[in-house]
């Protein structure tokens, strides 16, 4: 994944400030409209690294969501699917590798749409008789959709399910595999940044609390047990951030995407545990914003492979390759 266009430092600062401002002030449809007006799709095409890292970190920080994830997921599909722009991509349900698999009839599907656009067609990766394929699904295919509340209602995900759907195969075989690898990698990086934004927010909230909350006559942030917890969260965050930044230049983009997402999820779990413990009672209440970031980070950790699932995929990748890729070089 290389930069199609390099934007200069001043442009980058301006762009970052604008995107952060929009992500903080708006959410949902309004944010999507504002990002369209800003020209996010063009920015994504011209400078994907800047576009993705800035917007998704800002979304994670602000706790907002937009249809931009669909822009990111559809971008690698554009070359395979000329009509892709008016669709949504359905990702595999949590814990699944594909949206559906069948050895013949029927084809059952279960997928998750995050940041859905108001478009009736869903593109879904499936496996039909052992062969990977992308299919198009709409209401007439026999699917039903459900707005997901779940752990993080504000994320407004849509679940699509169908017990026996009519599969309209768009692309199959090798191109379908390549498309899935590219979509999954693009999604992992975007979600990785969004998770890290939420992690940053969790750490900031816990650090503020540790500085101001006084017990035993001193700020709790002066106790080593508390300091170590927050340092652990910071170190996990830094490792994931460095992994995400390096992923754009890696020779093996797919492996780099697995690593970056896995490390981001790992940081989410560590920060959620350590920061919530530091925030103690107040962090457990609905009135304190902490739980919003915890929920967002942990739900996104589970999408496209969690921090417990991805290391297995990474290890299997290494074993089959028979080498330890350097990935980052001086």
């Amino acid at each position: 994944m290389t930069e199609a266009h390099t934007i200069d430092a001043a442009e980058r600062v301006l762009m970052a400030a604008t995107l952060r401002g929009l992500a903080e002030e708006l959410d949902g449809t309004e944010l999507a409209q504002a990002l369209d007006a800003f020209g996010f799709a063009d920015l994504l095409a011209e400078a994907p690294r800047d576009a993705v890292s800035t917007l998704f970190t800002a979304l994670g920080r602000a706790g907002s969501m937009s249809t931009s994830l669909q822009d990111v997921l559809l971008q690698p599909l554009a070359e395979y699917l000329p009509m892709a722009t008016e669709c949504n991509v359905a990702l595999p349900g949590i814990g699944a590798d594909q949206v559906g698999a069948t050895e013949g009839e029927p084809l059952a599907v279960r997928g998750l749409v995050i940041g859905a656009r108001p478009a009736p067609t869903y593109l879904a990766p499936v496996v039909i008789r052992g062969e990977p394929a992308w299919i198009g699904l709409q209401e007439s295919s026999g699917i039903s959709t459900r707005r997901v509340n779940g752990l993080d209602p504000a994320l407004a995900m849509t679940e699509i399910t169908g017990a026996d759907v009519t599969a309209d195969v768009i692309v199959a075989g090798k191109p379908a595999v390549a498309a899935w690898d590219a979509v999954a990698t693009a999604g992992r990086l975007a979600l990785g940044y969004q998770i890290l934004g939420a992690v940053g927010q969790m750490i900031d909230l816990a650090v503020d609390h540790a500085r101001s909350r006084v017990q035993f006559g001193r700020p709790i942030g002066s106790f080593q047990a508390v300091r170590n917890r927050l340092a652990d969260a910071h170190v996990a965050r830094e490792g994931a951030a460095a992994a995400l930044a390096s992923a754009w230049d890696a020779d093996d983009a797919f492996l780099a995407g697995l690593l970056a997402k896995s490390l981001a999820g790992r940081a989410a779990r560590i920060a959620a545990t350590q920061c919530q413990q530091v925030l103690a009672g107040i962090g457990f209440t609905a009135e304190h914003p902490f739980h919003l970031f915890l929920a967002r980070a942990l739900v996104l950790d589970s999408v496209l492979g969690s921090a417990t699932e991805l290391p297995t995929a990474i290890g299997a990748h290494l074993i089959s390759a028979g080498t330890i890729p350097r990935l980052v070089d001086l």
């Binding site: 700020p219 992994a243 297995t312």
Partner: protein
């Protein structure tokens, strides 16, 4: 010279020289390890590779310190040298170059690079580990020099070293009253006694200094400014040394791939992702050093990460090589045992993980200092 060109040159040279660079696996004594390193360093020095990345005024050929990280990586990723002893000149060399009297450094630095001399580091003491500022070794002025008395601990390679950088108290208590000296190990009154580790390696020493006379020109930097020298040395450890240790860890992880079945995927993946997180983080540190910045508190993050990766890699090894690890006495298993045991110290040496986390908490997160 650019890193890419340098790397290609080193690789060609390694292929060309071949066999003489490969250490014998049977004799795993510290003596054999150092003798092998001496030969490798001499070959590298004569070919020029050893001199790149060091200033020309001290016998180097100039160029970015990145080149030293690349050289270390190419050597340790093939296990041609052992990563711990290869760190020696990287720990102490930059401080000698920075703080030593120019005429002295000009004379002795090439000997260090050629492997004719090994140096050691006299920092820790029996009662001063993490709390280095409480050290008690003294340096008292006498005519045209100093007399040093005290005991140093964990002085790696001291019994094979020609010189030692020693921290000693020249002023009041705390870190402000400390000075750094470059002491010849053959000076009367210096005694190095090896301490065998649980890894079965007598790398560490307890080194005592009894009325050791040191000439005035062996003071490194200013009087009572030894803390700066110590900080400089600790910062240098986060540079090329970390990069080549990361390569050493990757090499060992690679050796495990043949024995790893599907059941090992997860642990292998975990270790690799920690190693990669370290490597991605360390790259920025290497770039900053190359730009002339001394790593600050953010390099504590690097230290915490590499220690975690180190232990994760050798924990996987212990799991995958179970049976061999506990009961096999072949040279291969002995080497694995030694590396696994050494990895236990990764969270201790060079500043414990607890000290690093404390630095992260205060300096990077802005938490109030402990009462």
């Amino acid at each position: 010279m650019e890193a890419r060109e340098f790397r290609a040159g080193v690789r060609d040279w390694i292929d060309e020289v071949g066999e003489p660079l490969v250490p014998a696996i049977e004799d795993q004594s510290v003596e054999a390890q150092l003798n092998h390193q001496r030969r490798v360093q001499r070959l590298l020095f004569d070919a020029g590779w050893m001199r790149w990345g060091w200033p020309t005024r001290i016998g180097g050929l100039g160029g970015s310190p990145i080149l030293r990280a690349v050289l270390g990586e190419e050597l340790t990723s093939r296990a041609l040298v052992h990563t711990t002893s290869w760190s020696m000149h990287e720990v102490l060399g930059p401080a000698a170059a920075e703080f030593g009297r120019p005429d002295l450094v000009e004379d002795i630095f090439p000997l260090l690079l050629r492997g004719e001399e090994f140096w050691c580091q006299g920092f820790s003491e029996p009662d001063a580990g993490s709390d280095l500022g409480s050290m008690r070794t003294t340096a008292r002025p006498r005519s045209d020099g100093w007399v040093i008395n005290g005991e140093k601990l964990w002085t790696s390679w001291a019994h094979h070293a020609t010189r030692c950088i020693v921290l000693a108290r020249t002023g009041g208590p705390g870190s402000r009253g400390i000075s750094a000296f470059l002491i010849d190990m053959d000076t009367p009154g210096v005694t190095a006694s090896p301490l065998e580790t649980m890894a079965g390696v007598d790398e560490f020493c307890s080194t005592s200094f009894v009325d050791v006379e040191v000439p005035a020109e062996r003071l490194l930097g200013e009087l009572d400014a030894g803390w700066r020298v110590a900080q400089f040395i600790l910062s240098c450890e986060r540079g090329p040394i970390f990069w080549q240790r990361g390569a050493w860890l990757a090499h060992h992880l690679g050796l495990l791939l043949d024995t790893a079945g599907d059941g090992a995927s997860s642990a292998l993946g975990e270790a690799y992702q920690l190693l990669w997180a370290f490597r991605a983080t360390s790259k920025s540190t290497q770039d900053r050093i190359a730009a002339g910045d001394l790593p600050g508190p953010e390099a504590s993050v690097d230290k915490i990460m590499i220690a975690a990766a180190d232990q994760a890699v050798f924990d996987v090894a212990r799991d995958l090589l179970r049976g061999d690890m506990e009961t096999d006495d072949t040279a291969r298993s002995r080497a694995w045992r030694r590396e696994w045991a050494y990895s236990r110290a990764a969270t201790i040496y060079g500043g414990t993980s607890e000290i690093q986390k404390d630095i992260v908490a205060s300096r990077l997160l802005g938490l109030p200092r402990s009462a």
